[in-house]
């Protein structure tokens, strides 16, 4: 922009504007609808921040001719605040639909109507509305709990902004990538050029990899992972797997994090190359489980089956426990910083007299309101439990929500990966321990899980956005208010989309495979087995609970001993599939190598913009692919 143009510019500097907010709402709503469907089909969602920031340049500056960097930042904050809740909803709410269709299979009217079909499942697939009947009261309860989660998620994380971003200097790779897009116009031609190269390369790569899922007639298959270990004839329990679908996002995230991210590899080595192999090779599992897996299977299939069991039942529970223990220790260790941050929120004023952060009294009032909404949701869902037990469950869930928010934000800040479904699982375990495995207990447990998942999604997104905001010089208070103002939109849109889809498709079947919800449904039986469970199921449940506790103890000890949120990162690595961690670690190693061989300036001018482009391009490609898939499904339906 030339000085001549600049001279005409007068105050105020555009930040929170109608155009920026409306564009964010539009992009956020469209992406929420798309990724509610995609998340149910594929099991993952894409954050709206980077896509919205790209569109922001085109609309705010290109079409409207007046956009500023911080205005575009508000646009991406709004879009992400709306879209982020879809993950929380789709990971948890389908659990109720799955339970409903399971119950429908034994109902006399369903059995009678299904008589003309080959199987009951065939009948239910053709009549999903009959199988998935959730009472309206429950739907209101889900809406209330997701709203409570959305508000509490933002409010709980605001006091941690100064601690995590200003003082601990957490990386938040996606936040850095979004800032790179927002600042592209002023960063010089070289950086902008490499950002574009990264975007184009990533779009091409993600399209080639993902297109077969939309156009099945293509001559190449949809590629998920590359099993390097299998190619090298290593046993299936020694996982050496690289992510292909989403691979460039992992590499880019690792590159932006740099050397610090290599700690994740240490955790993966412990989890996938030590614990899982030990469990498999030493047969540390009930004999009945071992026999069931290996009976009649080839050697490779047995090894793969045993490794899956070990990962799900030993390594992952230990990892979730370590996340929990590590985060409790982190809170203890960083309490002085957190208290200092909260004190400064009370005291800090800009020179203009305007507060930089949201007022603490508003935070407290919002938390009380959110808690009461959560109580109302539980009351609507299962009034038979009585107000006393509901109050206790909602209180425990609210306290856990605060801690889970910190866990997810630290994990996202350090590695860009988020253990959302692990948090949902602990919520369900806590609630069922308090309320027992009755019908009402399970309903309230799922409602609390919805709230915690939405809250942790909102919290980590708020921190990513605040990191972006810090890098472009946005005023935190404005971002916080904007996020709070729109946080309620996403859960409702996602819930409505899910309800519409439930009339057409049966959960647990293509295209709504809902992998996370199915995993949570299976995990409920493991952590809280039904009263008629076999002795084997009881034993597995008891051992799994012990592993949570053991993992928590290890995470607590490691973090208290070494600090730096080490237990959280190691636990996250044990929780994540090896393909994600190994691919991410490649990015971290590339930073170390390029910094050593080509210098820090090369990393800043070429490497980081390229890596940011990888993150952006894959997000853009996924949006296009999901749009194409939605169109294909709609055409098939019509």
């Amino acid at each position: 922009m030339s000085e001549r143009e600049l001279a005409g510019r007068a105050a105020p500097y555009r930040e929170v504007t109608v155009a920026g907010v409306l564009l964010g709402v539009l992009v956020g709503v469209l992406m929420t609808v798309s990724f509610t469907y995609a998340g149910l089909k594929l099991g993952f969602t894409v954050p709206a921040s980077m896509v919205s920031a790209m569109l922001g340049w085109g609309v705010l500056r290109g079409l409207l001719k007046k956009g500023s960097i911080v205005e575009n930042n508000i646009n991406q904050t709004v879009a992400a605040a709306i879209n982020v809740s879809s993950a929380g909803v789709i990971f948890t709410v389908p659990v109720l639909y799955l339970a409903s269709s399971e119950a429908a299979r034994s109902q006399p009217e369903v059995l009678a109507a299904a008589a003309a079909h080959q199987t009951v499942d065939d009948f239910l697939r053709l009549h999903p509305g009959m199988a998935q009947q959730i009472p309206t009261r429950f739907l209101w309860a889900i809406a209330a709990s997701s709203l409570a989660g959305a508000v509490l998620g933002v409010l709980f994380i605001i006091p941690s902004r100064k601690q995590m971003i200003d003082l601990e200097r957490l990386v938040f790779p996606s936040g850095v990538a979004t800032a790179a897009i927002l600042k592209a116009s002023g960063s010089g031609q070289k950086r902008a050029r490499y950002l574009v190269y990264g975007i184009v390369a990533s779009i091409v790569f993600a399209s080639v990899v993902g297109l077969p899922s939309v156009v099945p007639s293509l001559p190449w298959p949809a590629l998920e992972d590359l099993d390097v270990g299998g190619l090298a004839h290593l046993p299936a329990w020694f996982a050496v797997v690289l992510a292909i679908n989403g691979g460039l996002t992992s590499v880019g995230g690792g590159y932006i994090t740099g050397r610090a991210g290599l700690v994740l590899l240490v955790g993966a080595v412990i989890g996938h190359w030590v614990i899982t192999p030990l469990v498999v090779t030493q047969h540390w599992m009930p004999a009945a489980v071992y026999d069931t897996i290996v009976r009649g299977a080839s050697q490779h299939a047995s090894e793969a089956g045993l490794a899956r069991w070990a990962f799900r039942n030993v390594t992952r529970p230990l990892g979730v426990g370590m996340l929990l223990g590590g985060s409790i220790a982190s809170v203890i260790l960083t309490a002085p910083m957190l208290l200092s941050a909260i004190r400064s929120i009370r005291q800090q004023r800009g020179s203009s007299g305007a507060a930089q952060e949201l007022s603490p009294s508003l935070l407290y009032a919002g938390v009380v309101g959110g808690f009461l909404t959560l109580v109302a949701a539980a009351w609507l869902g299962a009034p038979e439990l009585g107000i006393g037990r509901i109050l206790v469950a909602a209180f425990v869930a609210t306290v856990w929500m605060w801690l889970a928010n910190i866990i997810v934000s630290i994990a996202t800040g350090r590695t860009d990966n988020s253990p959302l479904s692990g948090m949902a699982l602990i919520t369900i375990l806590l609630t069922l321990t308090l309320l027992g495995r009755s019908s009402g207990g399970i309903t309230v447990a799922v409602l609390m899980a919805v709230a915690v998942c939405v809250a942790t999604g909102q919290g980590s997104d708020m921190m990513q956005d605040l990191k972006t905001g810090h890098l472009v010089g946005a005023i935190p208070r404005r971002q916080q208010i904007t996020q709070l103002a729109v946080a309620w939109v996403g859960p409702l849109i996602s819930l409505l989309t899910l309800m519409v889809l439930s009339k057409k498709f049966l959960f647990g079947n293509d295209p709504l495979t809902a992998p996370q919800a199915q995993a949570i449904r299976a995990a409920i039986d493991i952590v809280a087995p039904p009263s008629d469970a076999t002795a084997l199921q009881q034993a597995v449940s008891e051992a799994t609970r012990l592993r949570y506790v053991a993992g928590a103890g290890a995470g607590l000890a490691i973090t208290l001993g070494a600090g730096g949120g080490l237990g959280v990162v190691l636990g996250l690595a044990m929780y994540l599939p090896m393909s994600v961690t190994l691919t991410y670690a490649i990015g971290c190693v590339l930073t170390v190598v390029t910094e050593k061989k080509l210098g820090k300036a090369w990393v800043e001018d070429v490497g980081i913009p390229l890596a940011a482009g990888f993150l952006v391009g894959e997000g853009l490609a996924q949006v296009v692919l999901v749009g194409a898939d939605l169109a294909r499904v709609a055409m098939r339906g019509s």
């Binding site: 200003d166 046993p235 230990l318 020179s351 890098l471 053991a550």
Partner: protein, 183 residues
């Protein structure tokens, strides 16, 4: 004994002890498990070496990543920001952008790089006292950068002016910490 060097061993022992079951030994593929443990040990040894290298750098107190370098940069920051704020009235906006980038790279990043050393020597609370106002100044410098890139001179000048106050506060903390170190 260095606590960090013992972490992998404590972790390995704790997690192994946590698992219950009957071990069948030996197993023909045991060498692969041993390889996993070897990688873990190598990571521990590597980390210990990196820590040792960091410790050696701290002795000099002037290299990037040390408390000394962070305090020096902190003391220099308010003067540099004040000079830029005054110069910005005459400079082109492109020059302001480049000057802000220089301040962020040569001052703020040097202060931030001292995090581990400052926390190790003086604790989290002292780090918060130093970095809190520095980060506030950093955000305002970033705002000045954005405004200058957007062609909004007034906002860029206002942000730089506001950043001076925070930088001065950080410099006072740095001076206090330096005198406490000497004492």
């Amino acid at each position: 004994m260095d606590a960090k060097a013992t972490i992998p061993w404590v972790m390995y022992a704790a997690l192994t002890a946590a698992m219950v079951g009957g071990a069948r030994w030996p197993h023909p593929q045991w060498p692969l498990v041993a390889a996993g443990v070897a990688v873990l040990v190598a990571a521990g040894v590597w980390k210990r070496r990196v820590d040792a290298a960091g410790g050696a750098m701290s002795e000099g107190m002037t290299a990037r990543g040390t408390m000394g370098a962070a305090l020096d940069a902190s003391k220099a920051l308010p003067g540099d920001v004040r000079a830029l704020a005054e110069r910005a009235k005459e400079d082109t906006l492109a020059e302001v952008v480049r000057a802000v980038e220089g301040l962020l790279r040569d001052r703020v990043e040097v202060i931030a790089a001292g995090q581990e050393d400052v926390v190790r020597r003086r604790g989290f609370e002292e780090w918060a006292a130093l970095m809190g106002p520095t980060a506030a100044a950093e955000r305002l410098l970033n705002r000045a950068w954005s405004a200058a890139s957007d062609g909004h001179r007034e906002e860029a000048e206002r942000s730089l002016g506001e950043a001076v106050g925070y930088a001065a506060e950080a410099a006072r903390e740095a001076a206090r910490m330096a005198s406490a170190s000497v004492g």
